[in-house]
Symmetry: C2
Subunit: 120 residues, 2 copies
DNA sequence: ATCGTGTTCAACCCCTGGGTTGAATGAGGG
DNA sequence: CCCTCATTCAACCCAGGGGTTGAACACGAT
């Protein structure tokens, strides 16, 4: 778990953390406020927040003794970009496949113009 | 790890699996083909595929001895929907915040019309 | 200085995840 | 029928994740 994208996906793989993110879209909150609905210890929630913070999904300021948690929406774009990029490719491929299938009604051999690759 | 959203996020939290998905947008592939670039055993890759399959990201048909792996792009929408939903809320909140800040130049008390919640 | 509240650190437990190797199964091809 | 290739199952190892409890730390209030 080193790159940011891994951290973000991993952070959101946990239902509790997703719920926290969901709640933070409504308003900033403190650790204790966030912990209240779940029946786990405050420390556990603090750990969850650490994960979200290291993923860049959340930031914390200091305000008296409290450390309000604030959602950072920009990181969502990182995921969206990754997802859209490959979904687009996949769909494009299906489009090509349709073309191929359409051609197969008329022509025969249809070689394999195997396309470019891309890593994460 | 029970619900599908968790499985999808969790599946994509692994760089190797993301890379497989990326490569599968170009063309279907067999387990061995997929395993080739990585220096892990074929069994390990087979396990990765199982994870992707259980997340619904991938399907496998049978073609002679081979079991070509095929990307299922629809599941991406599940994530996109979740992400967009909460990003939208977050942005809307910022918009409201701007309004509040603008009002603070003129008025004083500004109560807290705390908004609705939503779970995963 | 002291207390109380909010938050985090530390040590520990247990279970899952990703990796390994070795053997089993499936499905043509000789 | 037997061999070979592709894939999966099984057993195991080790690191890390999520949970716990108990102590420490950081402030504000008294």
């Amino acid at each position: 778990m080193d790159d940011q994208l891994s951290r973000v996906f991993s952070a959101l793989a946990d239902p509790t953390r997703r719920d926290m993110v969901a709640r933070l879209t409504a308003a900033d909150a403190t650790v204790n406020e966030l912990a209240e609905p779940y029946d786990v210890s405050v420390q556990a929630v603090s750990k969850h927040l650490k994960v979200l913070e290291e993923a860049g999904l959340v930031s914390r300021s200091r305000e008296a003794q409290r450390r309000p948690v604030h959602l950072e929406a920009e990181v969502f774009d990182l995921m969206t970009k990754w997802i859209e990029r490959y979904r687009r490719r996949a769909e494009e491929r299906y489009r090509r496949l349709d073309d191929v299938l359409a051609e197969m009604d008329t022509e025969q051999p249809t070689p394999r113009p195997d396309s470019e690759r891309g890593a994460s």
